[in-house]
Every structure is written in C-alpha cells, then in structure tokens.
Symmetry: C2
C-alpha cells in the first residue's frame, strides 16, 4: 500500500512535516554544525587566511608551547596524518616553528612564533565576532549550557 493519494497539491516549504527528525539530536547537530562551520570557515579564511582547525592549532600550541604533533592531534580530534599539511602551511607562513626534542629524538616540539601569537590574537577577535553574530539568539547562560551538553556528547567518542 503506497501512500500517494494523500498529496493532491505541492506543499509550501513551511508546511513540511519534519516531526520525526525534530526529536533526533544527531539531526540537529548536523544542521547546526553545518551553519556554524560554513560561516566560520569563510570568515577565518578571508580575514586570517587560515582553515578553522588551524586556528585551534594556534590556540593549543600557544597555550602549550613544546607540545608534540601527536599530542596536539589527540587533543583536537585530528589524526596524525592529517596534521602534516595543516602544520606545514602554518610553519611556511612563519606562524609556528618546530624544534627536535632533547629527550625523544622522534618528537618535534611545536612553538608559536611572535607572528603566530599576533595571528592568534586576531583569530580570537574573529571568533568572538562570529559567535556573537550567529549565536545572537542564545543568552550567555544558554551558550554555557550548550557547551556543557556538547562536551558530554564529544566525550562519548574518547572513551
């Protein structure tokens, strides 16, 4: 039995019934993440010439000078292999530098350059601007709440 006699005319976009998906967390996660990532990527590329993950890299290296590539990737949820081109362009642009570890000759320690710290400062202002624009509908308390809940969800993948 196929239900094709129900619709007798085209529907308007705002009449679409999505009631089932409305209760699915993963569905809204995909929608919201896509909206935020699209806007943020465009802004950070235009203003700072960076990919969004590269801003995270600058921030984490800035707060943890001497961190290794593997540690960095683990803390950001990025695989070792994918760190290579991300770091290569940051180093080529003079925003990060590498130094061999004294204790473990396999490890390359990462440090921000002064240019990298300036760039990170610019990026931080950019993030504030971006979040204030796209999260205008959320109060400060709601933003804290959503971060807390998203962190719980993200933790499910690192167990």
């Amino acid at each position: 039995m196929e239900a094709h006699s129900v619709a007798t005319e085209p529907r308007r976009a705002d009449e679409i019934d999505t009631s089932f998906l409305d209760g699915v967390v993963g569905y809204w996660l995909r929608r919201a993440s896509h909206v935020i990532a699209t806007d943020y990527s465009a802004r950070v590329k235009e203003t700072a010439g960076l990919r969004s993950v590269q801003v995270s890299i600058l921030a984490v290296v800035g707060a943890n000078p001497g961190i290794s590539q593997t540690q960095l990737g683990r803390s950001l949820g990025v695989q070792r292999a994918n760190m290579v081109p991300l770091l290569a362009s940051l180093i080529e642009d003079g925003l990060l530098r590498r130094e061999p570890s004294d204790e473990d000759k396999r490890v390359l320690e990462l440090y921000p350059t002064s240019a990298g710290e300036v760039k990170l400062h610019v990026a931080k202002a950019l993030i504030d601007e971006h979040e204030n624009a796209l999260l205008a509908a959320l109060t400060a308390q709601e933003r804290r709440t959503v971060i807390q809940l998203l962190a719980k969800i993200a933790d499910a993948g690192t167990e």
Copy 2:
C-alpha cells in the same frame, strides 16, 4: 619574544591546556558532531545500506508524500544538485518513486514505496539505538534542551 622556554619536557595528553577553546561553542559543535556522525554513518551504512542523509530523506518523504525535490532539499538543508545522486540510489533500490506533477510539469513528486516504509521503520529503530548508546550521559531533559538550543543555532542559517 617567543615563548619556548616555558615547556621543558613533553606533556601527557591529559595535561594539555585547551582553556581558550573550551568556551567556544563552534569548537564543541565540531567535536560533538564528528563523534555522532562517525558512529551513526557506520551503523546506518552497515545495517540499512544508506547514507545518513538518506534516512532523513525517507523520513521526510514518508511524512510528506508528494513533496518535490526542491522542497525536500530546502527542509533538510541539502542543495538541489546534491539531492540528485541521493535520490537516484533510493529510487534504484526501490525505496522511493517519482511521479510527474499534474499542475507543474517541471516538478517530480516523491512518494515512499512499501519497501521504503519498511526501511524507514528499520532506520528509526537504528536511530533510537544509536542515540541511546551515544547520549547515555544525557538525561531526557538534557536531550530536549540541547535540541532546542541547536535548533536556535541552525535557524541562524535560514534567515
């Protein structure tokens, strides 16, 4: 002035300072979305042989028989061009069928087949299972809250 004298030894992964990113909604959105999407995609591919967005398509067409491709794409946040291969495989698998509209000869109306309704039923059970597994750390109230907040964020992209 480069801050490389601060770190004198490698850090353990759980000692990494990510305090700046911790307050950024977009950062946690990326992390959480990645965890959920990875697990869900693998399950739905293995069990139902579908991509995650295709499950959403089945659900929306099931609730809105006769919907057009453009309406469907708009309601799911998927562009017209990207709907084509998604729908092609669903039709090839006999889960959906198309019928020319009587009123507008440009429009193709979409209807679920009986096989599509069975598949949707399977997918719904899969979604419940997936969400219960990965959102175990969240109470029912917290899930409702996160959906409400994510919907507000997603709305920022459709204004």
